[in-house]
């Protein structure tokens, strides 16, 4: 349809056309890409990089990464427990099995150009087990083949368990007792070759027995007398001496997958006060590890015989008697469950690697206690069996969960920061 020239409509449409053209021109000037833009690949890439250059910012790690970076850089575990200086650590030397979670610390240092070493330490657990130690040693004599040392050691163990003596002790007779030891000893240890060690200790030991502090159970005096717990009424000081030898060709001491460990210890205690508790004891231990499939499967066996023999007319105090039961001997029973002058146990484990940080195990334990070695009978051994989970590195077991069945005291669960054997 044709409209007359120069009408308002003509003027409006003409203006609109000019505006549209101007808008187009402005748009093109403001948006040079892509029509006017790069005509080479190199130019296109440069534009991308120039765009990125406007937005660069430092790398900002997240919280977890920052924490792990801090741990890697600072290494707090090593800072808390340096080789020389004040130290703090989980657990402590001479910490008894079953004493609960504990911490230790102190001061240690090399002396005389690392030819000597001093260690002043202490430890305490959640069950109030305590330890104080002062140790001085010459550990690197004869090119690291000989060690001499002396220590003063105090131990306070307030919740030791006792069920009575013999293999037929009753679970209901469980009591708690306290034992304190003060021990001064010298030692000489020889390691002529890496797999052989022999040594001797000579010392003076003072002990005292008292009521236990575990409120879950009666204290020892409530159920037992000196007649059925020899040494309960009075505790002498002792002079003791031992000699021992050990062959150790395990591939890793704390997470063995191959090799063996054999040790024999003979110890003599002399009652310095009452002449009632003179005795000697032997402790023979054999461990063997047989790997297959490149150590991904291990058959592990342990056998141990501990026997204390009192002099004629004398007795072995109950607190020095060998015990069987617990996470390293008979896992269908509590730690220290059975005690007598002689104890024996066997452990058989089939271990398999689930993945590099976890091994599992099926185990079968046998063990018992008797008054004398001649009384041992395989037919009277108590049994236990179960399954275990060991979180580990190549060199050590970091955490262990063992579940034991087959005992008369019910299922036993063990959660330990240590190996079974």
């Amino acid at each position: 349809m044709n409209l007359p020239a120069d009408t308002p409509w003509d003027i409006v449409t003409a203006m609109y056309s000019r505006i549209a053209g101007l808008a187009l021109l402005m748009t093109l000037m403001l948006q040079p890409a892509p029509l006017l833009a790069q005509d080479t690949r190199e130019a296109a890439l440069e534009r991308q990089r120039a765009e990125k250059a406007k937005q660069v910012e430092p790398y900002n790690p997240g919280k977890l990464e920052r924490a792990l970076l801090w741990y890697q850089e600072v290494n707090p575990v090593q800072k808390l427990a340096p080789h020389n200086g004040f130290y703090l650590q989980y657990g402590y030397q001479f910490k008894p099995v079953g004493s609960g979670l504990g911490v230790g610390g102190g001061y240690r240092h090399d002396l005389f150009h690392r030819n000597a070493r001093v260690d002043l330490g202490a430890g305490i657990t959640m069950r109030n087990y305590q330890m104080l130690l002062a140790d001085f040693s010459l550990p690197h004599l004869a090119d690291d083949r000989i060690e001499l040392g002396v220590h003063a050691l105090y131990r306070h163990n307030p919740q030791e368990d006792f069920w009575g003596i013999g293999p037929d002790s009753l679970n209901d007779d469980r009591v708690s007792y306290r034992v304190n030891f003060t021990d001064y000893a010298v030692r000489a240890i020889a390691r002529p070759v890496p797999w052989l060690e022999a040594g001797t200790h000579v010392g003076w030991l003072s002990g005292s027995i008292g009521p236990g502090t575990d409120t879950r159970f009666p204290t020892i005096e409530d159920l037992f007398t000196d007649a059925d717990a020899p040494g309960l009424a009075a505790q002498p000081d002792y002079r003791y001496a031992d000699v021992y030898g050990a062959i150790d060709y395990r591939d890793q001491k704390n997470n063995a997958r191959a090799g063996g460990y054999y040790s024999l210890t003979w110890r003599r205690y002399t009652d310095l006060d009452f002449d009632l508790y003179n005795f000697r004891e032997i402790d023979a231990l054999v461990q063997q590890f047989v790997p297959i499939f490149d150590k991904k499967r291990v058959f592990a066996v342990q056998a141990r015989l501990m026997s204390a023999a009192a002099d004629d007319g004398q007795q072995v105090p109950f607190y020095f008697q060998p015990t069987v039961g617990g996470s390293t001997s008979l896992r269908s029973y509590n730690d220290y469950r059975f005690r007598d002058d002689t104890g024996m146990y066997f452990n058989f484990e089939y271990r398999w690697e689930a993945f590099s940080a976890l091994d599992m195990a099926l185990f079968y334990d046998l063990g018992t206690v008797v008054p004398e070695v001649e009384d041992l009978r395989l037919s009277t051994l108590k049994k236990g069996y179960g399954i275990g989970f060991r979180f580990n590195s190549y060199k050590r077991v970091l955490y262990r969960i063992d579940i034991g069945f087959g005992g008369t005291d019910g299922v036993r669960y063990f959660f330990k920061f240590s190996k079974a054997f």
Partner: protein
């Protein structure tokens, strides 16, 4: 008038929208300078800060948190002919042209190694591998590492061999020299410090003794070591195998989609480089003309081949991740009765070699220590690219490179050479047949298309049953094809373009090529090749495997 108004408005609007909408008035498929041979890093990266990597976090992130983008897509940094341009990440070496054996044997080395007196500047007694840094008589800084006493020559041999091979592939690596030193030749520099379990302190002579006690000692009392020359430039931390560095303006391609990082899965499998993770690379700031750019280096090859650095390689290495749920659960639930197949593999007792074999080796199922985002993303064409580079290494050169490890036991040299060659063959058989193996297409002025078959060239396959070619005219501006003629089938690697295609004198032609072989179904994956008119002839401008 109204019509004029309507047309003007519509046209103006459309043109405006076209200017604003990048997709419509789009970038052409090919630029005049395609295919590029160098990816230019044009921005100054001098402002970057050193990025530290937590090994624990790297393991957790890659094992459990699914790092990176795993969209199934083609590598984003390849050129239009599906090659990797030279860059701060990669330099085409044997992949571009053959190298003489002596050049391959020389590797990255620019000198004969450390010379003169060695003056220790710092030491490390703790950690994975004890060692020290030193300056030689010329003042050059080196990092010194030793072999473990249980496996003399193992780690140093692996480091020398793998360094030369990764250099030949195209990666930036340090110069690693074998060296022999005696205790009495080591001096402690003034101010030299040591990091041990007590932290950092001044180094003493007994520290050197303690360090050497953890090293393999040769019969004559000397020690064999790797002297790794300090990389040029200022350290800027480590790169991850996913994402980009936010502080590097030149880093525009996500690492998990870079061809040279994805393809590295093949090289790592071949050489059993299970430790191919972020802690074993290093970014360095280097001058590039008037700018400073980051160069991305690979280093620490002590855990390759049969070496696990401090002991023989674990049997698990290459076969399973550190954490692999399925085999772990099966092993747990079957009480260990299920034995992973790799546990049963036997290895020869050659301490200098460690643990590596070729019989059980399966390139398709090889794994590093824990998932690597770029390796996970590797597609058949990425692995094909890498396999071609492996194929370009002559066996004679591999033998000569293994000889540079200077094993004192000839059995070590012989076994390792045989193993590497057998693994090479498996790599080629798997990945050259893992996709369409057609390579080197050419179009003659007369329109004859010729090409080669990489699998046949390396004797890992016999002749194809047939090839099919579908020709088309390609419009570069609109990125569209117009088929010409019907699909051709040929039995030899050549075909004639249809006359009507050439007579139209298009600027671009394309051919979709497939290969067919009963034993290799992957050969039939499509390959699109593009040629651009160049005078009276044609030049290859585009190649897309699996478009």
């Amino acid at each position: 008038m109204r019509t004029r108004l309507f047309l003007t408005a519509i046209t103006a609007t459309a043109l405006t929208w076209a200017a604003l909408e990048p997709g419509l008035a789009s970038d052409p498929r090919f630029y005049p300078d395609d295919p590029i041979v160098r990816d230019p890093e044009t921005q100054n990266a001098s402002g970057v800060q050193e990025i530290d990597i937590s090994e624990g976090y790297d393991f957790l992130e890659n094992s459990f948190l699914d790092s990176g983008d795993h969209t199934d897509k083609r590598a984003v940094n390849v050129s239009t002919i599906d090659e990797v341009p030279d860059s701060s990440w990669f330099t085409n070496r044997i992949g571009r042209e053959p190298w003489p054996v002596d050049r391959l044997v020389k590797g990255p080395d620019t000198s004969a190694g450390p010379s003169g007196t060695w003056t220790i500047t710092s030491g490390k007694l703790e950690g994975i591998a004890p060692g020290f840094t030193m300056r030689d008589g010329t003042g050059q800084l080196y990092f010194i590492k030793f072999d473990p006493p249980s496996n003399p020559e193992m780690a140093s041999g692996a480091e020398v061999i793998s360094t030369k091979l990764f250099y030949a592939f195209g990666y930036h690596v340090p110069e690693n020299y074998l060296a022999t030193i005696r205790r009495e030749a080591l001096l402690i520099g003034e101010g030299a410090h040591l990091r041990d379990k007590d932290g950092r302190r001044l180094m003493k002579p007994r520290d050197v003794d303690a360090l050497l006690r953890r090293a393999a000692r040769q019969a004559d009392g000397s020690y064999r070591a790797i002297a790794s020359k300090a990389l040029e430039g200022k350290p800027a931390g480590h790169f991850r195998y996913y994402g980009t560095r936010p502080d590097d303006p030149n880093d525009i391609y996500p690492h998990e989609h870079r061809r040279e990082l994805r393809g590295m899965a093949v090289f790592a499998a071949w050489l059993n480089h299970d430790d191919s993770r972020s802690i074993n690379n290093l970014d360095t700031l280097v001058p590039d003309g008037s700018r400073t750019v980051i160069r991305h280096n690979l280093l620490d090859f002590g855990s390759t081949l049969g070496s696990g650095t401090l002991q023989a390689q674990s049997p698990r290495a290459g076969n399973e991740y550190l954490w692999d749920a399925r085999p772990t659960l099966i092993t747990m639930l079957t009480l260990g009765l299920y034995v992973r197949p790799w546990i049963r593999v036997s290895y020869p007792d050659i301490p200098a070699v460690g643990r590596i074999e070729s019989t059980h080796f399966d390139p398709e199922h090889w794994k590093p220590e824990y998932p690597n985002a770029a390796f996970v993303n590797a597609r058949p064409e990425d692995r094909f690219w890498a396999a071609r580079i492996v194929a370009a290494l002559p066996n004679e050169a591999i033998r000569a490179i293994v000889e540079t490890a200077k094993y004192s036991d000839p059995k070590a040299t012989e076994y390792l050479t045989d193993t590497i060659l057998t693994r090479k063959n498996k790599i080629l058989k798997t990945w050259l047949n893992g996709t369409n193996p057609v390579v080197n297409p050419r179009l003659s002025p007369a329109g004859e298309l010729t090409f080669e078959n990489a699998a046949i060239m390396t004797a890992v396959a016999n002749a194809a049953e047939r090839y099919t070619i579908q020709w088309s005219v390609f419009d570069n501006a609109s990125n569209t094809h117009k088929s010409v003629g019907s699909e051709q089938a040929v039995t030899s690697p050549k075909a004639q373009a249809p006359a009507e295609l050439l007579s139209a004198r298009p600027e671009y032609v394309a051919a979709l090529v497939r290969a067919f072989h009963a034993d290799h179904p992957a050969w039939s994956q499509p390959l699109m090749v593009y040629f651009r008119r160049a005078g009276d002839g044609w030049s290859l401008v585009g190649l897309e495997r699996n478009p």
